[in-house]
Each structure stands twice: as structure tokens, then as C-alpha cells.
Amino acid sequence: MGEKLRGRGMAASWYGIARTATTDRAGAWAELDDGGTAKIVTGVTEIGEGILTVLAQVAAEELGVRPEDVTLGDNDTARSPEAAHAGATRQTYMISNAVALACRDARAKFDPFMADYWDVAVEEIEARNGEVWARDHHNLRMPMEEAVALCKNNGVVPVGAGSFTSEHTGLDPVDGSGRPWQAYVFGTQVCEVEVDTATGEVQLLGVWAAHDIGRVVNPRGVEGQIEGGVVQAVGQALMEDYIQVDGKTTTPGFAKYILPTSLDVPQVTSVLVEDHDPNNPLGVKGIGEPAMVPTSPAIMNAIYDAIGVRITSLPATPEKVLAALRAKRNKDQVAANVAAAE
């Protein structure tokens, strides 16, 4: 009869943000639009990570409107500027900075007009939450809707464009030296497991995840990325395995290719560390990929802590854990016999 043994393990990690070893770039357009709204156009869209909401938050902050006032036109190579691809943990880093720069460009048309209109210095113009005002002049204030109409009636459309660049260099082909990214993030996770020594089944019960992601735009969105990354790593660490025999897969569907379900997933406690990046206007970094890097080694370290077997070959399926336990028992027995003989 087996036991259920618990253990803990930890692992650290690092990751580079945006495209590797090649200059990365992204473009965006912005317009302060009628009715106190704003239009943002950029060539990449949501793959589920929440980038559209992030861009709306950034645009709202930069333009002085609300996120729900922002219309995002995106994802069409014939209708929007290039923003390159949706991957490499580059969306928040690259696209939100391009959007911020485009918004600032639009403000560079709008703010001087308002300063002129109110006869104040351009630095005194502020806008937030659908209102625009001149700092320290409490009688100079109006809704954004009215201000944009005034601006347009005087012949100025407050539009802007932005391009953000992240400077990376290629690697030397001989020694690999180079500057592959300008922003790096770091993470550490602790995992707690329970191992059933009768079945070999490993359950991941808790994960405590601390990640540096630069300036946080949407904390809940970041947590979602960490939780999702951890659970994909649970699949990699404990169950998923794309098996091929002579080039033909024996795992062609979800009956054979096992994925984590609601009953397999740990509770995740996230700690968001904000080490702002000095090389971009917003100070942001990213989290999509790095979230899942420390999880699988932390799980293997926790399994070792619980039962004293080191799984070096992923995934740690029940069969593999049982085989390792049997090997360990045999080894321990041989050692005991040797000790007794001596």
C-alpha cells in the first residue's frame, strides 16, 4: 500500500523580451476622434493575452480619454501599419510603446492648439478621463468631445503616428557574443506536490510565483498569463507527450494526448515585481512566455524532495515515477545488503 508524500521545490528563470538578436520594430496610428473617443490602428491583434485591453489602457492614459472610448482598428496588412508578429513576449513591450508614441504625436497637434486657444503654455495642458484642462487655471476646462470639435473646426485633425524600436544585435557565429535583447525579465517559482507512491501520480497543489514584468499595465491580466503559463507547464511536466512511432503519431486526439483539466491544476499565488525598463517610454516589459519557464524544474525538484527520485526525462508520468521508485528501492536494498555483508 502506497503513501501520499508531499514535497516542495523551487526554480528560477530569466527571459529576453521581444525578437531575438535582431532589431525589433512596431508601428501604430492614433487619432483623437469625435465624441470624445479615440482611434488606434496597429497591425497586430489579440491572441488571447489581453493586448487589446492593454493598448486601450495605454491610449486612454496618453490621450486623456477612457479605455472604453478607444476603438481599435487592427490586424489587417492592407489597412494598418506594421506591428510585426504576435509572439516573443513582445506585444506589451513593442506595440503598447508604439501606441504611446502615436498618441503623444497626436497630442503634439492637439495640445498646442488648446494652449493657443486658452492662451497658456503648452506644458500646462492636461487631459484625463474625457476631460481637458489647463493646470492651475481652474476656469479653463472642457470635455474632450468639445475640445476635439474646436480643434477640428479650426482646421486641425489631431492624428499621430508612432514607431517603436528595440535595439538588438545578432550573435557572433563563433562565440555567440551579442546583444540579443535590451530588456530581460526574471522569475522564481516554488511548487508543492503530493506524490502517490502506489500509483506514481503527482499532483501539483500550490505554486508561488514571483515575476518581474516591468511596469504592470493590467495586474489581473498579468496574473492570468502566469496562471495559464504555469498550467501549460503542468502539462509539459506531468502528462503531455506527443508520441510518434515511425513518424506516425499515436496521440492524434485529446483521448490520447492528455491535457490538464480543472481537476489537475494548482492554486497559483502570484507576486508581481515591477522593475521598470529604462529603455522604453512606458517602462513595461512582458510576461507571456517567461511565466512558464520555472514551473517544470520546480515540479521535478519538488518530486525529489517528496520521494527522493530525480526525474530528468519529461514528462514525469505515473509510469516513470513508479519505475524510478522501484529502481530506487532496488538500489537502496543493494546498498543495505552490501552494508550488512560488510
Partner: protein, 624 residues
Amino acid sequence: MADLNISMTVNGRAVEKSAAAGSRLLDFIRNDLNLTGTKEGCGAGECGTCSVFVDGVLVKSCMVPVAKADGAEIETVEGLAPRRQMTPVQRAFHKTGASQCGYCIPGMVMAASATLRENPQADLEEIKQGLGGNICRCTGYQKIFEAVELARDVINGKVPETALDEDEVGESFIGANVRRLDAPSKVTGALRYAGDMVVPTMLHLQVLRSPHAHALIKSIDTSDAEAMAGVEAVVTAADIPGEDGYGVFVHDQPTLATDKVRYVGEAIAAVAAETEALARDAVKAIKIEYEELPAVFDPHEAMSGGPILHDYAQDNVTYHVPIRKGDVEKGFAEADVIVEQDYDTQPIEHAYLEPEAGLAYEEADGTITIHSPSQNITHHRHAASRILGMPVNKIRMIMSPVGGGFGGKEDMHYQCFLALAALKSGRPVRYVFTREESIIASAKRHGFKIRYKMGLKKNGRITATEMYMVSDGGAYGCSTEGVMRKSAILAAGPYDIPNVKVDTIGVYTNNTPAGAMRAFGALQSEFSTESHLDICAEKLGLDPFEIRRINMMQDGAITHTRQKLGSVSIGQVLDEAEKVSGWESGAPTVRGPVRKDLGGDGNREPCTLVPRHTTTASPEEEVA
């Protein structure tokens, strides 16, 4: 087969329609009623994206023949709330950020609704069980659990309805929990993914794929298929007008195989026809003569004289990245302990819930427009321009909502032959992968074999790290070059190590191609480093946090690629993780049985095999 006359109530409205005999309830809902909130993720009852209520019971509509639902009352995600409104469950999903890509979400909302209808007091364990038949690949489920618990408490009046409102925003929108703007469209099923798109006169595409891992194509005869009524275009490599070849780094993959196939599942020919069934039949009518070639499935064998896949790579090496810093031999000579260990990691499938899909059509000005959940429309536009022999501004790539990508939708596996079928037929053409097709045809995470050697001083300082990693890139290059690069750069970890020697080698084999997947090679190499450090910590009697602190990079560190860093936050994240987990320090010497920090806050209950979910009503009461 004759059509069936189906009459049922769907979302409160009477429906009378004929349906093809043998069609599934899912097909009827999606294709005949155009209610595309109900998704198809696997077609085998395994993922839950197609969940609907039939006479109040939650079922997977891909498993129900439409004939069996004749006369039934059907409720889909579109029918949960009146138009332009949301139920508390849907609002709670919006509030907590429970939707990411959104493809599983209609099914998840249905399962959550079923759970709370069955037991409005359902506890967390019962909620988890209620959602147990629905897979989500993005969220990690935690925000979904939170949403269902919140909805339960609102429904029961335990918390006020205002708990579903958006959080107050403080000083700045940046740093605020602004609710996802796309969530309402996802929780109500309103958002249309590529496979949900329908345009007038649209044809359906099906693909002939290789049954062989390595074979010459001696001939392709499409004449029978082309002669079939309702077949509007058959496309093969012969139809490619430009210079063929795609791939994220090296353009070695043909849009459709020409003289040779290199993996099981490789696309050879495509048929566009009036219906999906007809296109499938036409695919079967295409005759191909193969001559099988010896194949290689192990990267080490492939590197040492195995059959050659591509003429330009006689050693089957796709890409090799070396990192050299200092002198590892000197470092090992200085070490007090040397620890060697092999590691390996398996290939895995992205398993995005949305299988690949696309819709292509020619516009009036001759532009070819391709909608697909592509993660890289910029790159795909360039590649398609070259392959289709058209100017770049006549290729219009539109990124449809992506139902999960994780790197797997960076490859342009189908967009070009879809475009060719639209150009050849002069009609819009749609292609939706089955789950099985998605699994065999799309790239996987690279499996790695890693040989690790580390030298350390007794005080825990690493003097040298040597890693030799061979990776199975499968039949085509895809993202292998980039994966090798990122893997190598990050391999030795965020540690200050004077002597580093790292090699990553991506190799061609006749396995399914490997490509981009979230954490892109770094997952594999850092897995070995972080496992290895624990082995070393045990040998040296050091706490795992301690050995990392002893070696970690500091502000201004020089990396393994000799880049000078600015601020380095590894110390902070180590401190935070140690603190929040309440870590009990000590060397990793199998302390599990004696450690005191187990079982605290932040753990879930272990899952047991005993059913925990019992209804409150006893059988007698139900009879009564």
C-alpha cells in the same frame, strides 16, 4: 442519404428545418442555424467547446446526431441571456478576466451555468468537477473558478450584484484592473473566429496529406477529382505561380509537396468544392504514386549518416548555435565538484482549442485577401507575395481572432494553398482543420536531449557550465533556428559564470516539424539548468535559494553572450518567492517527509478518485 425534417425549440424559438441525415447537432446549430457561439474543438467529445443544453441537460453537441435531438428544447450560449445582456455567470467571467483567447469560453460558460443550475450552492470542488469536461488552454482555470464562485454568490444574494461591476480606477488607467474589452463578445459567443465566417458562394477546402514519412512522389493524378460535379478547383504544386518555400527562418517547406514528402501529414493537394463532404470525396479520388524512402526519426542518427532530407543540409543539421565564454576546461580544473547529468524533454502539442482555419477570396481590384488566425501577418504577407508571385500590396492578410496560438500559428501552413484555390476557382474558399489534422500537420515544441556538466567550488560558486543540446526539428525548418538561438542564449541561466560552453543543434528528421512554442527553447534548456542546480545544492549542502543567490547576476552583470545588463531583478524575485511561499530553508536532501512548510495557504485540496459530488436529493425523494 435523404434529408431529415427537424423540428425543435432553440433558445425559445421554434425551428423547422431539414438537415442532412447523419449530421450532428453541432453541425445543425452552427451551419443551419448559424449560431456559431457553439464551437468545435475536437469533434470527439473531449474538449467541451460544443456544450449546449438539450432539454435542460448539458451535452456535447458533437456527439449527438441531430435526429436524436428532434423535438427537443435546445439552449445555446446565445440563448442564456436576452440580446445585448449577460447572465451573472457571463458578467462574472467578464469581471474576473476568465476569458483569454475565448474559444473554450462559450462551452465553459455553459458548463458553469449547468453546475450552478444543478446546485446553486456548489462549492469550489463541485465547480471544478462541473468544469472537468471542458478544456481551457490559456487561463490555467483559476480566474474561471473565481468567476463561477463570484456568480454563485451573486445568484444566492451572498454578495451584492455590484460585485460584478468593474473595479474603481485609481490615479491611472495603467496599473488598473480594466476589464477585458473583448470579454463580452467571448462570453456570449458573439465573436466569430475564422471557422465561423460564412460568405456567399463560399467553397470548402479539404487537403490530401502524406501517409508516408519519407517518399518520392512519382506522379499525381487529379483528373478523376477534377471531373467530379461540384469540384471547383484542385490545387497542387504545379499551380504555384511564384517561388515556393516558406518557413519562419529558412524557406524550406513547400506550400504543397512537389517531388518528395518528408513527414506524415504533409500537404500534397487541395480540393475546393461546394461542400466539405464533396471535397473530402474528391481528395480520395486523387491518385498518387509514391516510392518510399528510408526515413530517420532520431536526431542523433540523422546527424551521423542518416538519410538526407534536404539537399542543402547534407548532415541534416538545420542550425547550430555555439556560445563560448572563458575556458570551460580551466573552469572544471578549478572546481571542487563536477556534476554531470543527462536530461531530455518531449515534443508537445500546442493544443490551442481553435483548430487552424482560414477564408480566402479575391477582391475586385485583384487583391487576394486571406483571413486566418495567423500570429504573423506581416511575415506571411511577404512570403505569400513571393509564393503567389503577386506584389506585396495585392496580398491582404487579416488576422482573425486567434483561439489560442502559443507559437503554433506562426507558420504559414495553409494560407497559400487556400489563396490559390480561391484564385483558381474565382470563389471564396474556407478551410477548417479537424483536430487530428491540426495535430499531425502543425509544428510541435522541440524535444531536446541535453548533456550537462557543471563545475562548482565547495562554497557553491559555479566555475564552469557546459551544455550540449541536440534537438529534433522534424522535417522542416519552421522556427528551429530561432528556437536554437534563444535556447542557447538563456541556457546557463541568470547566473554569473566565468566559463560557459553551450551548443544547441537543431536537426532534420522525418518526424512532425517542430517550431515555435511559448518559451521557445528556453523552457527546455532552463529546465535542465534548474534541475541541475538542485542536484548540485544537495551535494554541497546548500539551500536551493542560497545556491542561486551565490551565483546570480547582479546589476551591471555581463551575460553569457557578453552583454552588459542594467538593472537585474533576480535577487528580488528570489526574495519574493521565498517569502510568499513561507519556504523552510535547507539543502534539498529529500526533506519532504520532515519539512514544516507544507500544506499551508496557497495549496488546493488534492484530487481524490472517490466521487465527491453527490446531489442533495436522495433517490427516494426524486421518485417522490
